[in-house]
């Protein structure tokens, strides 16, 4: 394992495509070996699993398909084509072909393909898209709705905006296919208020689609009517939670609903509703075009398809990149991100938005999949990775995140409303040099008391990261308390809200 690791590190320094292919092959080989070994004896395998908890081995990796070369692009295919947001350019590059194909299939067939594709929700929770679709009642007295979650507010996450700004027709095509498959009449795209450019691009594309007969009445001459509306959000993170979003769409303040009933049964305007993330729906045309199996093959067990990854922090090439599901974080960092910038050493990273647990560099070889990231001790989330270097104060990061969730808590339920502010206050005091050792237990206890006890998952989004910083970097918290100050000059020189609170 160690051997393999050093080998990989070495390799990943080279950026040629050959190297990438070679490595991918190696991964497959390695996995096969591992599978054989596991067959040998369950007890042994379990033991192995335990031993490698800190550094999980890539498990059940890509079966046949090698990692595609860098130019094998789908979701981001049109990003660099000038004016791809215009219908003619989009069509010239194969646009709306998938829709025409889909409209020759019936709904059940399409749902089957989506199920087969292993497309997981790209909004963070990773719910299998095909299964969600199959929950929508077939018959309904009221029109059914498709709601696109384009609220993209998770700190560190910036992938959906690219899809909306640079390839809006792909998304619209996905919406129409979903509507065709599910018997949906109306669609709302709930776009984060700040993303005004994305809203403009979407509206422009929707208008073009209406003019071309892709939207409106009798689409492509068939007995199929479908309308899309763009609805700007009003700037609350909680409107990204699907039922908070539905409340927002209905004109109320974004307070998530109790589930059940789930939106598929009682959603917007009390009607059956499918809520999907932008990227989830933008992936649909590729599934139709190439088949569910093709999509599933481009990934690992239960996680199919190409996927956008965001890289931020002190890396050489921060940005959004497309790669298959199941790629390791190391590969993303080294090959796409170009490694850490000179003079910056990797200390920690958050794999998929701020509500995921923080990980240390020893987890770099974890694969980007919902199950594999869970095994690595965190979650895949939105797959937009935030890298942090050794100059980053972990107490400060935890405090900053707690402030974010405190600010964004809708305030409905007690543990999240009160706990988020309390956690922020305690973390601030540790960062400001006023912490006590018992505060660490208090924080952990607080996290336990929030997690699982709230209406929506925002409560968990406070508990999980805060707990992870305390557990992954305990010495740093203790250090703050022993010194009664923050050891990171870069941070302590800056005036923090904690300081002004103390004044």
């Amino acid at each position: 394992m160690t051997e393999e690791k050093s080998d990989k590190t070495e390799k990943s320094k080279e950026t040629t495509e050959e190297a990438a292919e070679e490595k991918a092959e190696e991964t497959v080989e390695e996995t096969e070996q591992a599978e054989k070994a596991e067959e040998g004896g369950e007890a042994k395998a379990a033991e192995e699993k335990k031993a490698k908890k800190s550094l999980p081995k890539p498990k059940a990796a890509a079966k046949k398909k090698p990692t595609p070369r860098k130019d094998e692009k789908y979701l981001s295919r049109n990003f660099e084509i000038p004016n791809a947001h215009n219908l003619d350019v989009y069509e010239a590059n194969g646009g709306y072909r998938a829709l025409k194909k889909a409209m020759k299939m019936d709904g059940e067939e399409i749902i089957e393909e989506v199920k087969k594709s292993n497309l997981r929700g790209r909004g963070g929770a990773g719910f299998p898209c095909g299964i969600k679709w199959s929950f929508l009642p077939k018959e309904s007295d009221v029109p059914k709705y498709l709601v696109i979650n384009a609220d993209e507010g998770e700190p560190g996450t910036f992938k959906d905006r690219y899809l909306m700004e640079l390839d809006p027709h792909r998304h619209i095509e996905g919406c129409i296919i979903a509507a065709w498959a599910l018997g949906i009449r109306y669609c709302y795209i709930f776009v984060r208020g700040e993303l005004q450019f994305a809203q403009r691009r979407l509206n422009q594309a929707i208008k073009q689609a209406y003019d071309a007969g892709y939207l409106g009445k009798n689409i492509l001459g068939q007995d199929f009517d479908f309308d899309i509306y763009v609805h700007p959000g009003a700037g609350a993170y909680i409107c990204g939670e699907e039922t908070g979003l539905i409340e927002g769409l209905e004109g109320k303040s974004g307070q998530p609903r109790m589930k059940p009933p789930f939106p598929a049964v009682v959603g917007v305007f009390q009607a059956p509703t499918i809520v999907n993330n932008v990227e989830t729906i933008s992936s649909i045309p590729f599934i139709i075009e190439n088949g569910g199996q093709w999509f599933a093959d481009m990934g690992i067990e239960k996680n199919g398809g190409p996927k956008l990854y965001g890289l931020s922090g002190p890396v050489n090439n921060p940005g959004v990149y497309e790669a298959p599901s199941g790629i390791t974080i190391r590969e993303l960092l080294e090959r796409y991100g170009g490694g850490m910038r000179d003079g910056h050493e990797l200390k920690a990273f958050i794999p998929g938005g701020s509500s995921c647990a923080v990980l240390k560099p020893d987890a770099l070889d974890a694969q980007m999949g919902f199950e594999t990231m869970r095994e690595a001790g965190s979650s895949m989330g939105t797959a937009c990775i935030t890298f942090m270097d050794t100059n980053t104060c972990m107490v400060r990061v935890a405090a900053r995140l707690a402030h974010f969730y405190h600010h964004e808590s809708c305030g409905q339920c007690t543990p999240c409303r009160e706990g988020s502010g309390w956690a922020a206050k305690v973390l601030d005091s540790i960062e400001a040099g006023r912490g006590r050792m018992e505060d660490l237990d208090l924080l952990l206890d607080m996290c336990d008391n929030i997690q699982g006890n709230t209406i929506c998952a925002l409560g968990d989004s406070i508990a999980i990261p805060v707990r992870s910083y305390l557990q992954v970097f305990p010495e740093e918290f203790e250090d703050h308390i022993k010194r009664q100050s923050c050891p990171y000059p870069a941070w302590s020189k800056r005036k923090t809200s904690a300081d002004s609170d103390a004044a």
Partner: protein, 515 residues
């Protein structure tokens, strides 16, 4: 019907029953703030979390429905930890100003803290500060710091009154209750929000700082504000009513009552006729009984046919029953008139136009209302001399101010005017004899509401001044006039009366669900 096991007790409940209700049926209290049996279920306070076997996280008992074979623990270690933590979170920014809080003593937060938490605060930072006295409506004040954001008040205005005045502004721990722009919490039932507020965040302006609740004595009574007859807790201290609070009765008023009715207790303590009087001079009961019986006997001798009697729908059935016997057996007149308050505001919820609590009682006791003359006839009959002696129960007349003035002016024409009433209402001075009657708070009796439901009310405290229940006054006079009507207890009258009438007696009010 699903079977559930709650803390080891097997119980079978209706399909769709929530865990909280099932637990109550099995005899286990699940603490709760936001849940109110008459309102929708937001499950936001998280006080009612319980452990369901096989579920990953704790479930809100108020929201989750039982399923067959479910195994629920309401007292497990996990549940106790969650309860403690929710109370700790609620108290985190709570001012705990119980010593100056009207809710203290009937505060769910205080009670639950003692029962489910009772640990020291672990907060070292400062508490958040919010508005302390916000005039949210003409009858209600709001304290943002005490508010636990359970949204009971909002849901009341949405679901019960449909007036939608309230909402939450801001979010997270800055959230507060406010009215929508340009609105006030001024619906006719606004003080109910203070009743259902589990803490002292909404308080009634009328009751504020008036009396500590643990000093109050509570009597089951019926509101006299209108003919709906809302069931109330009549709460009093030192012979004075401090407030009315609705008493649960699903047949009549559920958990609610209107603001006007709630404040109608003030009539019990204003403008009371407290001493028997003759031509403006105070007498004792002995003296006034003699004078009255002599005068009435003389009038009867003179001209039995010119006797008029005003019956009041404000009086209880028992009072009316004796009034009827007095009229028939002592006075022997058939010139009857109906008094009572004029009609007023009505809505399609509780408030009825008929502002008298017992018109149906009059109907039941006198066998209909057809024999009664109205106010115009009363005035005509006085002016024409058809009536020379008028005996009037209570001071109210269903008349506008002008008509009432005509009545007052006409009184001069009478040879004898006997008033038997709670209030002076400028008539006492004109009366040749004024006999003080007591209010519904000072005696017991029965009102029949608009719907024909006979509802008993109990005595809260001793009669004010020298006042007596109407029925006792009639008994005194009858005895003095040689026609004894003999009763010792109200229930004797009641028994006799119900034999004679067809009104249904109210059964025991339904058991209120945990509010």
């Amino acid at each position: 019907m699903p079977k559930v096991n709650i803390n080891g007790t097997e119980i079978e409940v209706e399909k769709g029953t929530t865990i909280l209700k099932a637990a109550a049926q099995a005899g286990f209290e699940v603490p709760h703030f936001c849940y109110h049996p008459a309102l929708s279920i937001p499950a936001n306070c998280r006080m009612c979390l319980v452990e369901v076997e096989g579920a990953r996280s704790l479930e809100p008992a108020c929201y989750s429905e039982v399923t067959d074979g479910m195994v629920v623990e309401t007292k497990s270690e996990r549940v106790i930890k969650a309860q403690k933590s929710v109370l700790e979170f609620i108290l985190l920014n709570h001012p705990v100003d119980c010593p100056i809080c009207d809710q203290a003593g009937e505060c769910k937060l205080q009670d639950y803290y003692m029962a489910y938490d009772a640990q020291e605060s672990r907060l070292r930072a400062e508490k958040n500060q919010k508005v302390k006295v916000f005039p949210i409506g003409p009858e209600v004040l709001y304290d943002g710091e005490r508010c636990i954001l359970c949204t009971r008040c909002i849901r009341f205005c949405e679901e019960i009154t449909g007036t939608n005045e309230l909402t939450i502004v801001q979010r997270g721990d800055s959230a507060e209750i406010r009215t929508f722009p340009g609105k006030e919490l001024d619906n006719p039932y606004s003080v109910c929000t203070a009743d259902i507020c589990p803490v002292g965040a909404l308080t009634s302006r009328d009751f504020r700082f008036k009396c500590r609740v643990w000093l109050l004595q509570s009597t089951d009574s019926v509101c006299t504000g209108c003919s709906n007859g809302c069931n109330i807790h009549l709460e009093h201290f030192r012979n004075e009513i401090q407030r009315y609070r609705p008493r649960y009765n699903p047949q009549v008023n559920d958990y609610w009552m209107c603001d006007a009715g709630r404040l109608s207790y003030k009539e019990v303590h204003t403008d009371r006729l407290l001493r028997p009087m003759s031509n403006g001079a105070a007498l004792n009961w002995h003296g006034v009984t003699e004078t009255a019986s002599a005068k009435l006997a003389r009038a009867l001798d003179d001209d039995a046919g010119s006797f008029g009697f005003v019956v009041s729908p404000q009086a209880s059935c028992e009072d009316l029953f004796l009034a009827k016997r007095f009229i028939e057996e002592v006075l022997g007149t058939d010139q009857l008139y109906l008094g009572g308050k004029p009609d007023g505001f009505e809505d399609d919820f509780l408030i009825k136009a008929d502002k008298n609590p017992n018109r149906q009682g009059v109907k039941a006791v006198f066998g209909g209302l057809n024999d009664f003359g109205d106010v115009d006839k009363l005035i005509d009959d006085i002016e024409s001399g058809a009536i020379k002696t008028l005996y009037m129960m209570e001071t109210h007349l269903p008349a506008d101010a002008e008509t009432r003035q005509r009545f007052v002016d006409a009184l001069d024409k009478l040879d004898l005017f006997v008033l038997q009433a709670q209030h002076c209402a400028e008539l006492a001075n004109q009366a040749h004899l004024a006999l003080p009657a007591c209010s519904h708070a000072e005696t017991e009796g029965t009102f029949v509401n608009f719907d024909g439901l006979a509802q008993p009310f109990e005595q809260a405290f001793a009669p004010h001044g020298d006042s007596l229940p109407h029925w006792q006054i009639f008994m005194r006079l009858a005895r003095a006039m040689g026609q004894p009507l003999t009763y010792t207890f109200v229930h004797q009258i009641r028994d006799e009366m119900f034999q004679a009438s067809d009104a249904d007696e109210n059964g025991e009010p339904a058991e209120a669900q945990a509010e």
